[in-house]
Symmetry: C2
DNA sequence: TCAACATTTGATCATATGTTCATATATAAT
DNA sequence: ATTATATATGAACATATGATCAAATGTTGA
């Protein structure tokens, strides 16, 4: 319990409200994980990559050409998306084909698009 | 069309795949808006604020006490969430009560939680 | 009007982020 | 083996981000 908590406790805080919400509050680590997931979706390049992969698997070079950035930039972002288990890949000769590794992305994008387009 | 696009065009790019995806690709501004929305959800403090507001409206001081950060930090984050039209507020005396201003947050969190907890 | 309180705002600072460039790795073809 | 191609990686750099502090604003009650 931090200093400002104590300070608030004796001033403006509605204790009942805070207690009520605290019962159902997210655990710290879950909040952090959730934020990391959304952060992974929070960049235009990564949004484009994931949206493109909703249609079909693509190799790094395809994605770079489609989105208009260097292969290096795409590769760096794919690494991050891999770390979040949002994409998976398979190697075929010299190419590496990426595809979605998560069933929630479509719904996340659908909900997100509803928000931004209304 | 950028330099690396031309380079790719004569090398590894699968033109058919890229053309196919390009047909249904997000517009630049929509991709940016979507990324901005997810970026707004991409911070633990903001995740906690929004999650708390799923239960009930709370004033700045309540949120600060609940989450364990200063009122100033909460206020700064609320400003950002307001800009994204994710929260709205009403003034009651000296307090300002915040509540959700978007029907998609619950579903976004539900989908996100499924991803991070599996 | 003044004092106290709740919130907001601006400045500052340390850290995180995203791209680029150069280089390394991996595979294929000659 | 050597070369070319596709991807990955690390360093560097400019920019963005999030918290804190101090100060400003707005509201209430004495």
């Amino acid at each position: 319990m931090s200093e400002q908590y104590v300070r608030c406790e004796v001033s403006c805080v509605n204790e009942d409200a805070v207690t009520e919400v605290r019962q159902v509050m997210l655990d710290e680590d879950v909040a952090v994980s959730l934020a990391e997931l959304f952060k992974a979706l929070g960049d235009p390049t990564r949004v484009k990559i994931l949206f493109a992969l909703l249609t079909r698997e693509l190799c790094v070079c395809d994605l770079a050409a489609l989105i208009g950035v260097t292969e290096s930039a795409v590769s760096h972002q794919l690494r991050l998306l891999r770390a979040q288990k949002l994409v998976k890949f398979r190697r075929e000769g010299k190419n590496v084909y990426y595809s979605l590794d998560d069933s929630h992305i479509e719904e996340l994008f659908a909900q997100g698009l509803e928000h931004v387009t209304e």
